[in-house]
Symmetry: C2
Subunit: 186 residues, 2 copies
């Protein structure tokens, strides 16, 4: 089990049994799709994998009207344990991840000083917008649920702000010449 979406599924089933379509709907409704990429295709794969591991199990398959059957899944005892173990592990151990921006920054040189400054400025602008949006959503959410349930938004905001700070610093360094531009493949 690699896919973090699996964790979201376990998290939902901690509350009550559900069928896959309902899981997707609930995740989106709660805005959890900001933390997990929830695509239908993957979801069904993930559910199958969780069954294979014995962490969830089919409870019943019901048919409402003449729509496709719904298979309702529930947690097993093992699944309950694995869920917290999973969360614990991901919190404890930083994973080596490869954000696209990190890759792109490695080749900042290719843009030339002016190109780099322009692109970085635009990024900062977009980041500011997304921070604004997240903040607003967070405020709204806080009116309805305890802070603990939306604390991940605070994390996302903080990270975005740190990135903005770094980007602006680099822009300043390029403009002041503190970040020299050796001649390089253009």
């Amino acid at each position: 089990m690699k896919n973090a979406l699996g964790m979201a599924v376990l998290g939902l089933l901690m509350e009550s049994p559900l069928h896959p379509h309902a899981m997707a709907a609930t995740l989106r409704e709660r805005g959890m799709d900001r933390a997990f990429k929830v695509t239908t295709g993957s979801l069904y794969d993930v559910v199958r994998a969780l069954v294979r591991e014995g962490w969830i199990e089919a409870r019943e398959t019901v048919r409402v009207g003449a729509r496709p059957e719904r298979t309702v899944y529930g947690l097993t005892a093992l699944g309950r344990e694995e869920f917290t173990a999973w969360v614990d592990r991901l919190v404890r151990e930083p994973q080596a991840e490869y954000p696209k921006f990190l890759s792109a920054v490695s080749y900042l040189g290719a843009l030339g000083p002016d190109g780099a400054v322009a692109a970085l400025r635009e990024r900062a602008e977009r980041l500011r917008a997304s921070v604004e949006e997240m903040r607003a959503g967070h405020q709204e959410a806080l009116a309805q649920v305890p802070r603990l349930f939306v604390v991940e938004v605070e994390y996302a905001v903080r990270m975005a702000e740190a990135e903005i700070g770094w980007v602006e610093e680099i822009v300043a360094d390029v403009e002041s010449g503190r970040l020299a531009w050796p001649e390089v493949a253009e």
Copy 2:
């Protein structure tokens, strides 16, 4: 073309034609494998994709001794253009990404206040170690190449520091009760 490893390949070929195995070796030698996940399997897929797009082309296939043939690839004119366009786009537009930690934080509640504090403390510790390591590597690198070529390490360090800051703040908030723990599925 989604895979950022493709960008790394183009970046290398800006300097001179190479065969896949040499690309992997060079990337690792230069420590670029901190920005790109470089696995052999993916590399050959990526190279094939770049050929399909017409961004690189086979230049020759040579055989040294009786070892497997090496196919040497070089950039096309199109590839040259696409490289900078690619970098530019990734710098300008923040991508929605889904770091595992963000997912895990969404379920921090499942650990209980004490469990959460313990896990977060360990994370902070590990992050501090990795910052230390990055800093050391960066110093060493600066002695040999211009800052521009290792500026992505500065970014990584900055982000890690921001994360440490956030983690420590949350720990404090939990301990002081500023982050309340509604009773919840355990």
